[in-house]
């Protein structure tokens, strides 16, 4: 009897490892809630990568990836835990997500780590996620805001401004970024006159702007979201004449900002994580072929996150997250042949042949310990009513 059981178990194992399977990959995004307008294109980015992998037919002997979306609401930690729990019970082998830092921490601690599911977030950038005890199950294709705070402080000081007011969106992202910036800026000799939160999703920000105006400053750092309170604050500040120079971190920089304010941002500047070059251009083209806007915030990061899951599975020869989690860093970093968007088939082929790859993806992925993007930032300005790249940091 014991032998029989053992034999059955062994067969099951072998069958599981060798045969083609449908591998479910969760996509945990805030489809409703404060960032619901960003979620669809992030999902599109992730699905684009999965489609590409499926079309190649090369993943683990012809296995296919099946995206399973779940609504984590972004704002509500318990809703996010419930959503990811549902994904876990559906048997997902990896998750692209979470989306916002707070809910990502909650779902990672409550589900991801205890149940052993790899989570790769395209967009959670809070410094708190660098120090969390993730047992190697958490990665992110976006850099920590601790790094962005430093870069932003440097850029502002380089431009001869040493006296700024800060407003941040009242969540883990905004608060984390505002704090890391303030610390870096003050260490380098700058002054922060006020660091005040604003709530997203309000119609009117004139009261917030009045407070920032009273505190003063040569520029206003807006650590918010472009289609949320961030733009509202900028609008109110421009209208009331409180500030005319703004500093925009990653949540704000993008085409929507230019569409909204046009030539009103002549003296403003900002930065966002971005690697210009072939990888990004190819991704933008792939995205427009697939009928979505590839330059939307974190869509490219999502493509890379989903790609990393597939490539790490291939490298490990299994879809078991407890095994392939150790391969994520390997496929993302040198040595090996560089893999850009559209070349996932090539990457899968090389890995199947036992060779190394260095997945660069749409954002020039380079993961540093503890499993997050090193972060190349692009400094931009808005002279002439367009988004211009100035240089890279």
């Amino acid at each position: 009897m014991k032998k029989l059981l053992l034999a059955t178990a062994a067969t099951a194992l072998v069958a599981g490892a060798a045969g083609a399977e449908e591998i479910k990959v969760g996509i945990s995004m805030g489809y409703t809630g404060p960032l619901e307008s960003m979620a669809p294109d992030i999902e599109n980015g992730a699905v684009l990568a999965m489609d590409e992998v499926n079309a190649s037919g090369l993943l683990l002997d012809g296995s296919t990836l099946v995206p399973v979306p779940a609504d984590n609401t972004c704002a509500d930690a318990s809703a996010s835990v419930a959503a990811v729990e549902r994904l876990a019970s559906e048997g997902v082998k990896g998750i692209v997500g979470g989306m916002c830092s707070g809910e990502t921490i909650a779902s990672l601690e409550a589900v991801g780590v205890p149940q052993g599911i790899v989570m790769i977030s395209p967009s959670a950038t809070s410094p708190a996620l660098s120090t969390i005890d993730d047992r190697g199950f958490f990665f992110r294709t976006s850099p920590s805001d601790a790094r962005q705070g430093e870069v932003m402080a440097d850029i502002i000081l380089e431009r001869g401004i040493d006296n700024v007011a800060v407003t941040y969106t009242n969540n883990d992202y905004g608060k984390g970024l505002a704090e890391s910036f303030q610390q870096a800026f003050e260490e380098k000799g700058g002054t922060v006159t006020i660091s005040a939160a604003h709530e997203d999703g309000k119609g009117d920000y004139s009261a917030e702007v009045a407070a920032l105006d009273a505190a003063g400053g040569d520029a206003l750092v807006v650590a918010g979201y472009v289609d949320q309170g961030g733009s509202g604050v900028v609008r109110a500040a421009l209208d009331s004449g409180a500030f005319d120079t703004f500093v925009f971190p990653d949540g704000m920089v993008g085409q929507p900002l230019v569409d909204r304010f046009g030539t009103e941002l002549e003296t403003s500047f900002g930065q966002n994580p971005s690697s210009e070059g072939e990888g990004r251009d190819t991704f933008l083209k792939l995205a427009s072929d697939a009928d979505f806007e590839g330059s939307s915030a974190f869509a490219a990061e999502a493509y890379d996150a989903a790609s990393l899951i597939a490539l790490a599975m291939q490298a490990a020869g299994t879809s078991d997250p407890k095994v392939y989690k150790d391969k994520v860093m390997d496929v993302a970093n040198a040595p090996g042949e560089k893999i850009l968007p559209g070349q996932l088939a090539r990457g899968l082929e090389l890995l199947a042949a036992g060779e190394d790859i260095d997945f660069d993806g749409a954002t020039g992925v380079e993961l540093v310990e503890p499993g997050e993007s090193a972060g190349i930032y692009r400094e931009v300005d808005f002279k002439g009513g367009t988004l211009n790249a100035v240089k890279f940091h």
């Binding site: 009242n170 604003h198 004139s206 009261a207 009331s240």
Partner: protein
């Protein structure tokens, strides 16, 4: 000079925004108070009626803009208003037919109406989001500023700037016209008198030959018009987002209750009281104090802006504790 600077700063950051906001709240509170006075329940769906009406205005505005029709220098949205009001009124009448009429016939307690209106609120909120989406929409066209900050500084040579937006002036003017019309309607016309009679005593009104269903229909139509107008002015002045109208429900109710529920004059006063308190309490007075020769390290802000809505709550509680019928002797809640 410093005195002038202080004056301009107060105008720019307190008086002008609070006046426009107060007019918007007043129009919203008028709708709430009218329904309370005549149909005898607090309509929680009023905020989302505003959102729905504004969504209609936006869709029609886009249509008009597509046809190349504009009202420069006024926003095109004003042209779209009448049709949007009609559409919103249809929705309200439909809702009344499907939901409220059933309870009215059963002579249900007001609390049941309130709960039903909460349900209606969720449905209308979902409907609005389905129709127009959740993104922020700006639909003000035409001349944006009557006085721009940079121009003002150049003209006066003052350090402080003053901005007066076209939408702010339109808001106040439209609110004043509407209020004047509403008072004329309620006090001078047959229908208005019938509504007041129905509000005072339903059975007596019925005995004197007033058709209650007609009164109810008229009430919903006027409420729809007020809601659409208030919502559109708010959206023009600030920005449209399907969620924000749910948030201003609290200050609107506070305004209606402060003024005395069921009392139109009270609703208007309440709107301005709530708006001015919200803005003045959360405004940091440091700069003004500095102009008046009183330097301070702190911001001199009574309450941080995150707690703006708390002001409405405090006003509500104080009024309910000390003058439950409101400042203008409305009905007790």
């Amino acid at each position: 000079m410093d005195l002038l600077n202080a004056l301009v700063a107060v105008l720019n950051f307190v008086v002008i925004p609070a006046t426009a906001y107060g007019a918007q709240l007043a129009l919203g509170a008028l709708g709430v108070t009218l329904i309370y006075g005549i149909l005898r329940f607090s309509n929680f769906a009023h905020g989302d009626t505003m959102a729905f009406g504004t969504a209609m205005v936006i869709l029609l505005t886009w249509g008009l803009q597509g046809l190349g029709i504009a009202l420069t220098p006024l926003p095109t949205a004003l042209l779209a208003l009448p049709v949007a009001i009609a559409l919103t009124a249809l929705l309200m009448l439909g809702t009344d037919r499907v939901v409220y009429r059933f309870y009215r016939r059963k002579r249900a307690a007001p609390i049941i109406f309130v709960m039903a209106s909460v349900g209606v609120m969720f449905i209308m909120n979902g409907l609005t989001r389905l129709v127009i989406g959740v993104d922020e929409i700006r639909f003000d066209d035409g001349a944006r500023f009557i006085i721009g900050v940079a121009d003002f500084r150049r003209w006066t040579g003052l350090e402080e700037g003053l901005a007066l937006r076209g939408t702010q002036v339109i808001t106040v003017a439209a609110a004043a016209l509407t209020v004047a019309w509403l008072f004329w309607f309620l006090n001078r016309t047959r229908s208005g008198k019938a509504m007041r009679a129905y509000s005072d005593n339903e059975d007596l009104a019925l005995l004197s030959g007033i058709d209650p269903e007609r009164v109810v229909r008229q009430t919903w139509i006027i409420a729809a018009a007020l809601a659409t107008l208030a919502g559109t002015l708010y959206g023009l002045d600030k920005s449209f987002r399907a969620f924000t109208y749910f948030q201003i429900l609290l200050p609107i109710f506070a305004a209606a209750i402060v003024g005395g529920l069921g009392n139109p004059l009270g609703a208007i006063a309440g709107g301005f009281i709530v708006a001015f308190s919200e803005v003045a309490v959360t405004y940091p007075w440091r700069k003004i104090a500095a102009y008046l020769g009183w330097e301070s390290d702190g911001l001199m802000q009574l309450l941080s802006t995150e707690y703006k809505f708390a002001v409405s709550f405090v006003i509500l509680i104080v009024v309910l504790l000390f003058r439950p019928t409101g400042l203008f002797r409305g009905k007790s809640v």
